[in-house]
Structures are given as C-alpha cells and as structure tokens.
Amino acid sequence: MKVLVPVKRVIDYNVKVRVKSDQSGVDLANVKMSMNPFDEISVEEAVRMKEAGTVTEIVVVSIGPQQAQETIRTSLAMGADRGILIKTDDAVEPLAVAKLLAKVVADESPQLVILGKQSIDDDCNQTGQMLGALLDWPQGTFASEVKIDGDTVSVTREVDGGLQTVALEGPAIVTVDLRLNEPRYASLPNIMKAKKKPIDMKEPSDYGVDISPRLDILKVTEPPVREAGEKVEDVAALVAKLKAAGAI
C-alpha cells in the first residue's frame, strides 16, 4: 500500500523564540529550522511499515518555502521514496493545508496519510482531522500504536484518561503522538542516496486551492514573564514558606 506523509518545516524545538519588537510575529531570521518533531515520527512510522512489508511506497509532501525542500530531503534520507514541494512563501493555515493535501490525495490515491498531531509553531492540532473531514475518511489521532490488518487500521490513541483503541475502515488518517516510535538518524550513504530521489515542484495554484488566510494576526506579544523567586535552605524552610503562603 501507498502512504502519504505531510512534513512541515518549523523553527527547531531547541530555539528560544523571540517576539519581534513591532509585534508582527516571531523572529525567524537566522534561526535554526528543522522538521516538525512529530513529522519525524510519522516518517519513521511509514519507513518501519515499509521495512515490515506492509507499505510499498512513501510519498512525502511539504507546503512551504523553497527551503522546505531540505525537510523533504531529510525524509527521503530516512527512507521515503519521493517528495512533493508545494512552494509558497505565504503562511498557510491548517484549513488551506488540508485542502491542498486533499488534492494531493486525489492525485496519488494513498491508502493511508500519516501526519503529526501538532505543529510546534502554531500549536494548532487541526490539519489531520480537517483532512479526514474533507476526504470523509476516518481518523485515529494522537497515535501511540498503529497496526494494519488488511483494510483495517487499528490505532491506539493517547487520550486524557489513558489509552483508547479505535478500528478504522481504510483508507484512513493517522496523526502521531510522541511515544509512537523513536525516529532514526539518516546514515551518510542514505543522505547521499536521497539526493537522487525525485522531488516534484508544485505551487498552490496548480491545485486551484485558495490559500488566503481566514485569520488576521493583529499582534504577537511576549507572554508575561514570571520572576524567579527565592532559594530556600532546606526542607524545613520550604515547609515554613509554603505554610506562610497558605499553600499547604
């Protein structure tokens, strides 16, 4: 079966984010960018399915600037087969991303789409579910285990009270949580090989999708800063402080 894996280029999770002084957004000039950590987990899962023989082809797709090609290359080096870059310098909201992905699904006819549960920049947690609705496909979100048995995809989900398992009648959408797997590092030979794998270059207009934003960003500000308090000598001093503060 064929799997589609959408991957997003985002600020590296280790970077300390700085808000621009004009409050127009976050400063992305000269900061390290990487693949959204959840998307590395999606790619890894697809590659493991291929190694296990359930998957025959892995197509990765990214919507973003020219440099998102690097994100696609990283996925190819991990073991994906080919890429599609839908190039745009505009910020694309999850609804528009889902609409573009629905078109890619129509072209490629995968049986499974594996996405991250959330992008660590916009923290939206929407795209996979939206794609599910647009395609009328079932979804297994926040997956910590995925099993494929014929046309049925069985997904164990991380939910507020613990774990929940759902059975999906494929084709289906899966969004991954952190504990699904631990992504591999690409080996040097695989990085070299990835350079020869094909990447299709597209633009949003090729798909006839209107990507104009629905949300107008009025301002982006720093969160209130929390002042560091005091260090206490020992356990007794801590207990005294907490009692005085009425916390215990």
Binding site: V26, T127, Q129, M130, L168, A228, E230, L242, A247
Partner: protein, 309 residues
Amino acid sequence: MAVLVLADHDNAALSDATAKTVTAAIAFGGDVDILVAGEGAGDVATEAAKLAGVRKVLHAEGEAYKKQVAEAMQALIVPLMDGYDALFAGATTMGKNVTPRIAAKLDVMQLSDIIGIEGQDTFVRPIYAGNAIMTVKSSDAKKVVTVRGTAFDPAGDGGSAAIESVDAPAGPFKAKFVSEEVVKSDRPELTAAKTVVSGGRALGSEEEFQRLIVPLANKLGAAVGASRAAVDAGYAPNDYQVGQTGKIVAPELYIAIGISGAIQHLAGMKDSKIIVAINKDEEAPIFQVADYGLVADLFNAIPDLTDAL
C-alpha cells in the same frame, strides 16, 4: 447569536472542562446551549442543565456516541450548526479530536486553545509552546473554538435549562471504538487539582516514582504529574504528562521534582500560582520560574518533605 458548547463527559459526570468552556462561551456572548452526546448520559444532561447561564441542553443518545467517536460527532454536529454562530469545546483530547472536522465541513478556520476573547471575532491564543501570545481576528462567518481550561473559571451552578432530545445519526461510521485502558484513581484529576506533584527523569524508575512521588501527593491530596522524559521511560503513564503536548495545568501549588524545566514542560505549568522546584542542579532552568527553589538531592529531600507534612 447562539453558541453551542460541546460537553466533555464519561456518560456518568461532566468534566470540569465543560464548565470552563461555558464561561468562555458566555464571554463570547449570545445564547449558550450545551450538547451532551453519549450513551446512557441522562445524568450528564441533568448536570449540564444546572450550569448557570445555559439556555438549553441538547441530549443525543446512541452507541456511537458512548466514546464520542469523531466521525459520529461530525455527523451529529454539522447539521446542528445551522442554528448556531459558534461551536465551543474544551481543549481536551475529545475536543481536539472532534472540532477540526466540524470546522473543515463548515469551511472555517478553527481557533485552537484560546486563552482570551476580545470581541466576537477576536481571540487570544498561545503559540510556540506559550513563548508568544497571538491576538487574531477571524473573518469566517461561524467560529469553531477550543478553550484552554486554565484560562477560564468554571461556570457556577444554579441554572435550570430545559433538556431537549435530539436525534443522533446511527451510522454505520468508518471508525469504531474498540477498547480503552483508563486508569481509575481516587486522586483529583490533573487539570482540576489544587495541588500537583510532578516527577521527572531523575526519579530513575517506576518503583522510585511510586515510592517517592505518590506518598507526597497523597499527603497533599494532590494530583500526580510527570515530565515527558519520565513518561517515555515508563516511570508514569502517558496521561500524567504535563507540557506543550501533554496536559496544561495551573494549580494553586505545583511541585516539580527532578525536572529540569525544558520550555515544553514549562508550557504546561508556568501559570501555576506557586511553583516549587526541587533539583540538585542549582542552574536548572526550572528555578527561573520557581517561587521557592530547593537545591537538594530528591532522594533525601522528598522523604523528609513527606514526613514534615
């Protein structure tokens, strides 16, 4: 103007998230109705009708609604939205799973995890794990919103809304609930607790986590949380995780034990009223947000603290 609030519940009781979402819906404005979809959820509907400020409760029953499977919820809610200007749900795993499907069907861009409302089209929400706060204006005709529980107080009791039955599509749906593993405990729920005691990687094993964190939490009547590192290593179950990708908490007292204070962890607890950090490394970033920091080896400090309480 009318808002539909999606109830979060387990067919026996309403979760705290629902009452908080009602407060946000009231702040948004207009008539506020609650949808209780479940199986054998009559008591939940009765409880929802008592929330102050609610106009009516829509009660839908059906097997597919027992666990609020997203595909069934979509079939139920999308037609109901003809009569509403907005859909509000708590940013719980249920809310996050369901609402984007409705937004896509209505062709609107969802507002996730809001912490403020500045008018009927303007919302405030954290981005980048809470390292930036964004104010956005939505140009969509209908709003689909998930609400961060820590930002709104629960609506009070004293309401007496009418309960109305609504027909729920019976399916079949392409997704089916199979099973769940839910940890039942007498402990307060993590996102509703007044005190939270969290353990990190430094605990070293599940046994030590149980031996040190749990008795301290018991003494304080606290909920137990954990860092991702502790959960990944299997010291604590997944639903204990506090942070950007786990639960967001803001208790009166948060005690972080052997947790370094990575931004992804801070994202889930830095709005707590009082933060205590116990860590043997005096440079640990957690101390930058702690009201009271104790530089100590937790294996000595925690038994002492538990005894002293």
